[in-house]
C-alpha cells in the first residue's frame, strides 16, 4: 500500500469516527428535544389552562356572591366576564382534538364540570335578577353552585396532579436519555482515540520501519560493507526506495568487485611490467655483456693474430734467408735455432690458446688425483731451472713438512706452478731471488675447509695495484707495452686462473712497483686418507718377476755426480741388472761402444760433453742407435731430448719405483714395427724420423688403399 493511501485511509477512519460521534450526538439531542417539546406542547399549556380555569371559576363565584349580597351591577358584569372567559378557555381547550381515549374522557369530564359550573352560576344570577331573596339564594347556592365549584376545583387539582406526574416522568426520561448520551459520547470518544492511536501506530510503523532499515543500510554501506541487503517486501514508496537501494548497493558492489578485479589486474599488469622492465634490464645487461664480449673477441682475435704473426714472421724471414743465401754453417745453425725457438713459441701459444678455449668451453678433460703440492713444485722448479740458470737466478723452495694433499690434475698443476715460476724468472732482474713457499691456511672455525696456499715471490719490476686483476686476463701484459720486455703468450696466467678455479681454489697477486710481486694460489685441502688405507706396494712380487726377465741385462749409468752413480748402481744391482758406470760424456761414449748395454741412463749437465751431445752421437751411430737412452736430469727439456732420439726422460728427483718400472720397460722393448698411414707427406717424414730415433722400425703409406697392395 502506498504511503499516500495509508495516510488517506488513516484520515478517512478518523473522519468516519467523527461522523459517527456526531450522528450519535445529534440523535441524542433530538431525543432530548422531543421530550422537551412534549413538555412544552402538553404539560405546560395543560397546567396553565387548569390554573386559568380554577382562577376564572373562583373569580366568577366571588363576583356572583358579591352581586347576590350587594346587588352591585358591576359585580354582575364582572361575573359574566369571567364566565365568558371560562367559556373561551373551554372552547380553545377543546378545539385541540385529544388523541388517546383516556385523555378524551378526562377532557370530556372537565368540560362537563365547567359547563355545570357555568349553568349553576348563570342560574343563580338569573334568580337574583328575578328578585329572589339573597338568603334563599345563598341556600340555593349551597345546594347547586357550591358543589359544582368544588367539583371543578377538584377536577382541576386532579388534572394538575396528572400533569405534574407526567412532568416528573418526562424529567426522569430526560435524565435517563441525557446520561445515556453522555456515556455513549464518552465511549465513542474513547473508542475513536484508541482507533486513532492504533491506526496511527500501524501507519507510522509501516512507514517508519522500512525508513529505519534504509537508514541502517546506508550506515552499513557508509562503513564500506557492500554485502548489506535490505530485502524489504513492502510495496509502498519506501519499499520501492529500499529495492532501489538494494539494487544500487548490488550494482555498487558489483562495480566494486569489478574495480577490485580491475585493481588486481592493474597490480598484475604492474608486476608484469616490472618483470618486463627487469627482463629488459637483464637483456640490456646481457646485451652490454655480449657487446663487451664481442669487443673482447675482436680484441682477442686481433691480439691472437698479432701474437701468431710475430713468431711466424721470424720463422718465415729466417727460412727465406736460409733458402736464399749460402750462409756458413754456424750462421745457419743460429738461424735454425731461432726458427726452432719461434716455432716452439708458436706451438705453445696455440696450445695455450686451445687449452684456454677448452677450459672455457668446459671440454677440458681433467684427470683429478689426490696429490701433494711439494713434488709438483719441485717438478716445476726443475722444468724452469734451465731458464733460471740463464739469468743466474736462485729459486729457493722451503718445504712444509706434512703438507696436506689436494685434489688436482697433476699435469695442470705443474703447468700452473711452471707458469708462475717462468713469469717470476722472466720479470726478475739478473741475480735476483725467487722464493716458493707453501702453507696451510685454516678457514675460521672450519677445520675441514682449510686451504693449501702456495706462493711464488720475485724481486722483479712489480705490478701496479690497478693491474692486479688485469694480469689474469687474456693477452694482457701490464705496463708499457712498448718497452722491451720478456715475450710471453699472455695466456699463462688466465689458464692458471681457470685451472685453480676449476679445483675450487683462488689465484691472486700482491705486489709493489719496482719491489717485486708475489703470486698466490690456494687449493682446498683434500680429505685426509688414513695411512692404513694407502695401497701397499707389491714390490717384492714385482722384483722377483723383474729378476726373472731381466737377468743378465746391462745398464750403463752416466752421471758426473758420484753419489747419484752409487745410488743408481745400487738400485739396479738390487734388481738383478749388470751395471756399468761413466762419470763424463767421453767415458760414456767409450763404454757404450765397448759394452753395448741394453740401456743407458744419462745425465744432461756434465762437464765437456753434455748428455744431449752424447745422445746425438750415439743415435747417429748405427752400432749404438738402437740402445735405449733414459735421461735423468734436473732440467726439463724433453722437447730437445726427444728430437735427439732419447727414448725416455725423467726429471730428478726421481721416484725410485717409477724409475725401475721405466727401466724395465725400456730394456724389454724389442724392435717394434710401426706403420704410418697419412696423406701428409711432411708429417709422415717427421714422425718417421722421430720414431726411428726411438728405436722403432717404421714404414709408411700415403693412403688407405696402399695397405693392401
Amino acid at each position: 500500500m502506498k504511503v499516500r493511501t495509508k495516510l488517506i485511509l488513516g484520515f478517512s477512519v478518523i473522519v468516519v469516527l467523527l461522523w459517527g460521534i456526531g450522528w450519535f450526538a445529534i440523535t441524542s439531542f433530538g431525543n432530548l428535544n422531543s421530550q422537551f417539546s412534549a413538555v412544552e406542547d402538553t404539560v405546560l399549556p395543560g397546567t396553565l389552562a387548569m390554573k386559568d380555569v380554577e382562577n376564572n371559576a373562583n373569580k366568577t363565584y366571588d363576583e356572583t356572591m358579591a352581586y347576590i349580597l350587594t346587588d352591585d351591577t358591576q359585580a354582575r358584569e364582572a361575573a359574566f366576564l369571567y364566565l365568558s372567559r371560562l367559556q373561551e378557555i373551554l372552547d380553545s381547550y377543546f378545539t385541540q382534538v385529544a388523541t388517546d381515549t383516556e385523555k378524551l374522557q378526562a377532557d370530556l369530564a372537565m368540560a362537563t364540570k365547567i359547563t355545570d359550573f357555568n349553568f349553576s352560576l348563570e342560574a343563580l344570577i338569573q334568580q337574583k335578577d328575578d328578585g329572589v331573596d339573597p338568603d334563599e339564594l345563598l341556600r340555593r347556592n349551597q345546594i347547586t353552585s357550591m358543589p359544582s365549584l368544588l367539583a371543578l376545583q377538584q377536577e382541576v387539582s386532579t388534572r394538575i396532579d396528572l400533569y405534574t406526574e407526567e412532568l416528573t416522568s418526562i424529567k426522569t426520561d430526560f435524565n435517563k436519555t441525557y446520561k445515556r448520551s453522555q456515556q455513549a459520547l464518552y465511549f465513542s470518544i474513547g473508542l475513536m482515540t484508541l482507533l486513532a492511536i492504533i491506526g496511527a501506530t500501524i501507519i507510522t510503523r509501516s512507514i517508519v520501519r522500512p525508513l529505519h532499515a534504509l537508514h541502517k543500510g546506508t550506515e552499513i554501506i557508509a562503513e564500506g560493507n557492500l554485502e548489506c541487503k535490505l530485502g524489504t517486501k513492502a510495496k509502498d514508496e519506501i519499499g520501492q526506495l529500499s529495492r532501489a537501494f538494494d539494487q544500487m548497493t548490488q550494482s555498487l558492489n558489483s562495480s566494486m568487485t569489478s574495480i577490485d578485479s580491475l585493481n588486481s589486474e592493474i597490480a598484475e599488469r604492474k608486476k608484469l611490467e616490472k618483470q618486463i622492465q627487469k627482463q629488459v634490464e637483464e637483456l640490456k645487461l646481457a646485451n652490454d655483456k655480449l657487446m663487451e664480449l664481442d669487443k673482447m673477441k675482436d680484441t682477442f682475435l686481433s691480439t691472437v693474430s698479432h701474437e701468431l704473426r710475430t713468431p711466424l714472421t721470424s720463422i718465415k724471414s729466417f727460412a727465406e734467408i736460409l733458402l736464399t743465401y749460402d750462409e756458413d754453417r754456424d750462421t745457419q745453425r743460429e738461424f735454425l735455432t731461432i726458427i726452432n725457438d719461434e716455432s716452439d713459441r708458436l706451438t705453445k701459444l696455440i696450445n695455450d690458446f686451445l687449452d684456454l678455449s677448452k677450459i672455457e668451453a668446459g671440454r677440458m678433460q681433467w684427470e683429478t688425483v689426490e696429490l701433494s703440492l711439494t713434488p709438483v713444485i719441485k717438478q716445476a722448479i726443475n722444468i724452469t731451472q734451465a731458464i733460471a740458470k740463464e739469468k743466474t737466478l736462485e729459486v729457493s723452495f722451503t718445504e712444509t713438512p706434512n703438507l696436506p694433499n689436494v685434489f688436482c690434475d697433476k699435469d695442470r698443476l705443474v703447468q700452473v706452478v711452471t707458469n708462475l715460476l717462468s713469469n717470476a724468472i722472466k720479470f726478475n732482474p739478473e741475480s735476483g731471488e725467487i722464493t716458493v713457499k707453501t702453507e696451510v691456511v685454516a678457514e675460521k672455525g672450519k677445520q675441514d675447509s682449510s686451504m693449501v696456499v702456495a706462493s711464488v715471490s720475485d724481486s722483479g719490476i712489480g705490478i701496479a695495484p690497478e693491474d692486479f686483476g688485469a694480469v689474469f686476463e687474456k693477452f694482457k701484459q701490464v705496463g708499457d707495452t712498448l718497452t722491451d720486455k720478456p715475450k710471453g703468450t699472455g695466456l699463462g696466467l688466465p689458464i692458471s686462473k681457470e685451472i685453480i678455479e676449476h679445483y675450487g681454489g683462488e689465484i691472486w697477486v700482491e705486489s709493489q712497483l719496482r719491489k717485486g710481486s708475489t703470486f698466490f694460489f690456494s687449493l682446498p685441502v683434500a680429505k685426509r686418507i688414513e695411512e692404513s688405507e694407502m695401497p701397499e706396494p707389491h714390490e717384492e712380487e714385482e722384483v722377483v718377476e723383474v729378476i726373472k726377465n731381466k737377468k743378465g741385462k746391462k745398464i750403463l749409468v752416466v752421471d758426473d755426480e758420484e753419489n747419484i752413480r752409487i745410488f743408481l748402481s745400487h738400485e739396479f744391482k738390487r734388481k738383478g741388472y749388470t751395471v756399468f758406470v761413466a762419470a763424463n760424456g767421453k767415458e760414456a761414449l767409450d763404454m757404450a761402444r765397448k759394452q753395448h748395454p741394453d740401456l743407458i741412463t744419462l745425465d744432461v749437465q756434465m762437464p765437456d760433453i753434455s748428455g744431449f751431445d752424447v745422445t746425438s752421437v750415439l743415435k747417429n751411430d748405427n752400432d749404438t742407435k738402437d740402445i735405449p737412452i733414459l735421461i735423468l736430469s734436473v732440467i726439463e727439456d724433453k722437447d730437445r731430448a726427444y728430437k735427439l732420439g732419447v727414448n725416455d726422460y725423467m726429471t730428478k728427483p726421481v721416484d725410485n719405483e717409477e724409475l725401475l718400472n721405466k727401466v724395465n720397460q725400456l730394456i724389454s722393448k724389442n724392435r717394434k714395427n710401426i706403420l704410418i698411414v697419412d696423406d701428409d707427406k711432411s708429417l709422415v717424414k717427421s714422425v718417421r724420423y722421430h720414431l726411428e730415433r726411438r728405436g722403432y722400425l717404421v714404414s709408411a703409406a700415403y693412403d688407405g688403399m696402399q695397405l693392401w697392395k
Binding site: S686, V687, G704, M705, L707, W708
Partner: protein, 86 residues
C-alpha cells in the same frame, strides 16, 4: 703391404682421400689376420667425442695432431711396452 710388414702398430690418419681412417680401421678389424694390430688414429681437427668413437670402433687411442708430438711418441711407447709386459 700389410701382410708383408705385419706391423705391431699403425698410426692412421682419419682424413684421407679415397678411403678415410674409419673405413681402414673397419676393414682391418674385419680381417682376422689384421684384427689384432694396434691402431692409433690421428686427427688434424678436434672431433667431439672423437676419442670415444675411435675406441668404440677398435682403435687403441686417438691423437690430436695439434698436440705436441711428444705425446704421440709417449703414446706409442706406452702401447708397445704394454704389449711386452703382457
Amino acid at each position: 703391404m700389410i701382410e708383408k710388414k705385419h706391423p705391431d702398430l699403425i698410426l692412421l690418419d682419419i682424413m684421407m682421400p679415397v678411403i678415410d681412417g674409419f673405413e681402414v680401421i673397419k676393414t682391418l678389424k674385419a680381417d682376422p689376420d689384421t684384427a689384432s694390430i694396434r691402431i692409433v688414429l690421428m686427427t688434424g681437427i678436434e672431433i667431439d667425442g672423437g676419442r670415444v668413437k675411435a675406441l668404440s670402433i677398435g682403435a687403441t687411442d686417438l691423437i690430436n695432431k695439434g698436440d705436441n708430438f711428444n705425446k704421440l711418441y709417449e703414446t706409442v711407447d706406452n702401447i708397445l711396452m704394454d704389449e711386452v709386459s703382457v
